[in-house]
Amino acid sequence: MALPQRRTDIGPPHYKDFLPPVIQKNYGDWKYHEILNPGVMVHVSNKGEKIWTVRVASPRLLSTDTIREHAALAEKYCGGYIRYTTRHNVEFLVSDEKNIEPLLKDLKDKKYMVGGIGPRISNIVHTQGWVHCHSAACDASGLVKALMDEFADYFTTKSLPNKVRLAVACCTNMCGAVHCSDIALVGIHRKIPIVETDKIKNMCEVPSTIAACPTGAISPDPANKAVKIKEEKCMYCGNCFSVCPALPIADPVNDGVAIVVGGKVGSLRSDPKFSKLAIPYVPNNPPRWPEVTSAVKTILEAYIAGARKHERVGEWVERIGWESFFKATKLPFTFQHIDDFTIARETYRNSAAFKW
């Protein structure tokens, strides 16, 4: 069977071809929206026209079977129109109010999880993990599943002081928004890479391997056309392994998950914030990482108990102070929490005003 004629540099199709008619007509002319329930919102245009959105959780890793099911539902209730969100949820775009209830029922029957709109936990931005990446210090999809099962109520019904954005990255490359999330997990190593001296000269470029190290721990080993790692300078980030496969760092015993908190990206109320280290290490305990989910739960519950309405996790923590965060969560504070990287000095406590 002959292949069709390939074309290059055409880019994606124009999005107009994928917009429901009501959106085409009211494009850029929306007036307001209302959240009808955790899974349904309606946007109303200046012309008075409406579009209903029904949001459904997705594991993001989808089989073609499931995508076909999405397509079938979209065809049945939405004129064939559907979108995915920036956090990987599915949005059914309903133009006809009549279709909402039947759609919801159908979704319920098919065991879809409807929700995520408003001050809730929405889907978890995440990465490949053991599913597909060579760099992973933990899985991603499994952690997401375990967490979202734990917090399902906050997706489907319960509300929070504000949105809580969770993220998971399986290594410190952080292919997600971990560094700016309310609560996030990142896979980490805790032992230095193994230097496979013999392989380096064939597999790696020495200068770029040296340049990859954030702490300058790598130096040339000219005799072997290889590199050496200064043990006391290595903080196990794995960036050298990213550029040089002959420096494997994965370690089933010592790898695990760090938990960071308090980041955000929007500029509402307070500037965008980086996430900060809350727990330096939780062991990899697949398939459900119970220690991780329970730690996240601790943090989430402290936030719920302490935050004012509309406060994001980071805003709450900054208002009460990090010393109060560690008190409220009973999390231990360790040497790992104290920054010693590029901007360390800016994090020291330069004030006589703090809480006991």
């Binding site: 994606p12 989808l62 597909h132 599943k145 509402l268």
Partner: protein, 395 residues
């Protein structure tokens, strides 16, 4: 019939209310050899607590330097169908709108040539086709491109740009995020498909400072919509919010970062000159408040993940740019920035890192932008700074 693996550990992850990725893999594995081996391999990772993927070699389609992530298993003998298992990045549509027709076609192609597994979407925003063999790459590309779809970016190239839903379904968008996203993608096709930069370059476009695409955290170029006029206040709607139980003083006025609002129980007033357009009040009182006047975008540069010098957020370069098709001002700016980056950037150095290394002055002068207080949160503290001969001449 694909091989069937025992997966007691992964089976645990089919329990619980949230949809299971394991179920997804199993669905595909039921009819697809690659997916089956992926499942078996993953179970093994769950048992041994480690991954079995190796670095990708360079694989791809003819004429392109990117768009495919090469991936090889280190357990090729045990799991031969994922011995090579590359990811194909299809450039998604602006704001991820699709039709059932396209999705079905996509599934047909992917079932034929791939694992039947996808990510909708990758965190950069590609439609990710998760795992296929080297020999299937050209057919996949032919099938998609003949239908009007192209590959996304990978490697030291421009990456697939993405944007929030914006004007398509959001009342707050100040710019046409979808069109900007489309225009940028089309304009820079060569830069996407033939990696020639020092490192990757990402665009993300958000319609307002709420930033539903997280552009400020993970785009070399963040385009964020904003306005230059007043916030219009519909006092009747304000009263309705109060009536419905909103504590306007606590929830809105006290939370305004620039403290430019006042409310006396009747009228909500905004001192627009001091508003920083943070979007809080508008987001929480969407029926009552709206940004008005001239619309445009703030252009920020330089966010990225932690390597090598620590994570960065994008920072303001152009506080306000009119955003009108064909977006020449933006395109010219981008070309200028790239020129400077190409010239000075080291291998694997993002543009934001380069700005930090060489200083904002050189960057701004090169792209022809004057310094303004909006470039900084605060001026420098230590009195150590350079003077050019031209500076010294100035009175």
């Amino acid at each position: 019939m694909p091989k069937k693996y025992q997966t007691p550990l992964l089976d645990e992850l089919e329990k619980g209310p949230f949809p299971s990725f394991v179920t997804e893999i199993k669905k595909a594995a039921a009819k697809n050899d690659m997916a089956a081996d992926e499942l078996g391999l993953l179970e093994k990772s769950y048992k041994t607590k480690r991954g079995y993927w190796k670095h990708g070699g360079i694989v791809g389609v003819r004429g392109y330097g990117g768009g495919v992530i090469g991936r090889y298993s280190s357990l090729a003998e045990e799991f031969p169908n994922v011995a090579n298992f590359h990811t194909v990045r299809i450039n998604s549509t602006s704001a991820f709108f699709y039709t059932s027709k396209f999705l079905n076609e996509m599934c047909d192609i992917w079932d034929k040539y791939g694992s039947g597994l996808t990510n909708l979407h990758g965190s950069t925003g590609d439609l990710v086709l998760l795992g296929t063999n080297t020999e299937n790459l050209e057919p996949i590309f032919a099938e998609f491109s003949s239908r009007g779809w192209d590959l996304g970016g990978s490697g030291s190239a421009m990456r697939t740009p993405s944007c929030c839903v914006g004007p398509a379904r959001c009342e707050w968008s100040n710019i046409d995020t979808l069109e900007i996203n489309y225009a940028v993608t089309q304009e820079f096709q060569d830069e996407m498909h033939r990696p020639a930069f020092p490192y990757k370059f990402k665009f993300k476009t958000a319609g307002c400072a709420v930033d539903c695409i997280a552009s400020i955290a993970r785009a070399d170029c963040s385009i964020i919509g904003t306005w230059k006029g007043k916030i219009s206040v519909d006092q009747k709607e304000v009263a309705a919010y109060a009536k419905n139980g909103m504590n306007i003083t606590e929830e809105i006025v006290n939370m305004c970062p620039s403290q430019c609002m006042s409310y006396d129980g009747k009228e909500l007033k905004i001192d627009d000159a001091n508003c920083v357009r943070c979007m809080h009040c508008i987001a929480k009182m969407t029926k009552a408040l709206k940004g008005t006047g001239e619309k445009g975008a703030t252009i920020l540069i330089g966010s990225k993940a932690p390597f090598v010098i620590g994570a960065t957020l994008s920072h303001v370069i152009v506080p306000f740019m009119k955003m009108e098709a064909p977006y020449d001002e933006l395109k010219d700016l981008v070309r200028k920035m790239w020129e400077w980056w190409d010239e000075h950037g080291k291998n694997r150095e993002r543009i934001g890192e380069l700005i930090i290394r060489r200083g904002m002055r050189e960057f701004l002068e090169f792209i022809g932008i004057d310094p303004i207080p909006q470039h900084v949160k605060e001026p420098r503290r230590d009195p150590f700074y350079f003077w050019t001969e031209a500076d010294l001449q100035k009175k």
